[in-house]
Symmetry: C2
């Protein structure tokens, strides 16, 4: 288990977003584990995924875990729009709820850069890593601040969403919310009023994210990870993950994911060629969101990249270490990234 | 092009469903091509898929096509609940609209059996074949009337839906309709009032049915089949397919698909072992709905079955012959089935 750590707030002041809006008294939530050493060269930045929170992947942190806080200073920043950092759910009018301005991955990385430099005085990060939308942030970091990122690991991610991922975000995340009459253009009074939409999100996620082995007769991975039936898995895993979320926050995160692009509309290959970090591009067998063949193609566009495919059970969900095989595979990935 | 053929109606009279309800003046729609020969041994029965109609796969019928009406008498029966046979959309009170009783695949096959025997006096079908929900009917035929089916072809199908298919039916077909406020428990006055739900169905189908190559940069199969963009494909292929449908009819078809089981809750392997037909189990590479490894497992439970996997572009959609490669592959499948 990681040492206890409280969620902290870094005050961004009046923070100008890439859209031009200024968020007054903007907040970036974060957690840390371990201590920054005197040379300030042991910092790891580990941003989170869509619907996540700074503590979402603390399973990798601990004295017997790959991210050892005795050795590393681990910073877990919270996405803008995640409900803890400045978000539709916690911002005052005129930017409350459905009127919160759209944030972008570039805004997140700029806010994180300010935390890393202003709060901690760090010039170079030993490692930036992330899974899924965390990987989108990792790419943005490696392209935007190439001299600050010593190594970077994209785990089941990409520099920008694929066309299928765009369709997924619209269909799995946005439409179920937007079609719920209780959505009311984002001006609901209780997020739970939109629970039917949140459940339908959960169902489309359950349909599209686990590899087929999760459901197939004779395999039924849900059984091995502690569920009594497919329906139990859909309810207690997927609905349980989505129901506590705030719909406006999810829409904000989905749209920023759709718009992610480290080349900002320019030449993506040229942007990737500017990466200075030792880059690790890790893909999971059976991941429909970030298929291995697409990750490999990304890696080929980066000057100093190592690609590898993890033969996993969980597909895109491998990062959650739901099975012992996936846990060992992921631990091995992180240990190789840290020591390469 | 097939010779012209009108949709005919076979009167089933007071037709008792497997649920116990009696449909008064029940109707089975059908089309035929070709002529029944004197020996009555050239009949092919080709039932249709969820959301289809008797004419849905007439692309395979014609003098230069695998199902040649000069040689075969081809019967295309319409599912109960398809809007032409007795359906929620065309039945009088008390069984109108949302109150139409649930029909099952067994009901369809019993109705088709009456058409084949009473109307045409056929004792044995040269071939029963079907794709997807058409294949579910094919299995029901081969198990229920083993001495009447000389050969049978399941094309991208199964005897009963897999767990993932159950989740798909609920998530892709039923929930988008049931969540639409205009659904009104099936007592809408205009099916188009439920158009938002029909569109969301189309989007989940677009997300889940085509292989990833349809969307992947550099492949973009939508381009090869005549669409201008991914969004154009989603609109003019998927929405165009779903928007003319009646929501109650779709719910009826989805629920009958979910309940399909030629063993009627018994021992499926024992049921499949009773098949007398020469059975062809055809799977498509990249089909998530009926994955090749699952189809192969089905084939192994049938006494006289030949399994083969078609290396296709379209995955589950290969049957639509959207590309020339898929058209040739499907034509080859049918020609082999007919001459084996």
């Amino acid at each position: 288990m990681p040492e206890q750590s409280q969620t902290e707030i870094f005050d961004l002041g009046d923070f100008q977003l890439s859209t031009g809006f200024i968020l007054s008294n903007a907040k970036l939530a974060y957690k840390t584990h371990g201590k920054l050493n005197a040379a300030k060269d042991n910092a790891i930045l580990f941003p989170h995924f869509l619907g996540g929170a700074p503590e979402a992947l603390e399973i990798y942190i601990g004295e017997d875990r790959p991210l050892d806080p005795r050795k590393y200073f681990i910073i877990l920043p919270g996405l803008l729009g995640n409900g803890v950092s400045s978000s539709p759910s916690n911002t005052a009018a005129p930017f409350d709820r459905g009127a919160f301005p759209q944030t972008h991955i570039a805004d997140d990385v700029i806010a994180q850069h300010r935390l890393v430099t202003e709060k901690f005085g760090i010039d170079e990060l030993y490692l930036v890593l992330g899974w899924s939308v965390g990987a989108l942030q990792t790419y943005e970091w490696a392209v935007r601040f190439p001299h600050m990122v010593k190594r970077a690991a994209s785990i089941a991610g990409a520099p920008k969403p694929s066309p299928w991922t765009l369709l997924w975000l619209r269909t799995a995340i946005e439409e179920p919310i937007l079609a719920d009459p209780a959505w009311n253009n984002g001006f609901y009074t209780d997020p739970q009023a939109v629970q039917a939409g949140l459940r339908r999100q959960a169902h489309v996620m359950a349909l599209t994210l686990p590899p087929l082995g999760f459901y197939r007769e004779g395999e039924e991975v849900w059984r091995a990870i502690g569920f009594a039936s497919m329906d139990d898995f859909v309810s207690r895993f997927w609905e349980a993950f989505m129901l506590p979320q705030d719909p406006n926050n999810l829409i904000n995160q989905s749209r920023k994911t759709r718009a992610a692009d480290p080349s900002a509309g320019g030449d993506l290959s040229a942007a990737l060629s500017r990466i200075k970090a030792q880059m690790f591009v890790v893909a999971f067998t059976g991941d429909r969101m970030f298929p291995p063949e697409e990750c490999q193609r990304d890696a080929e566009r980066i000057p100093n990249a190592k690609y590898w495919e993890v033969n996993s059970i969980g597909g895109h969900l491998t990062t959650f270490s739901l099975t012992e095989q996936d846990r060992q595979a992921m631990d091995d990935v992180l240990r190789q990234v840290l020591t390469a």
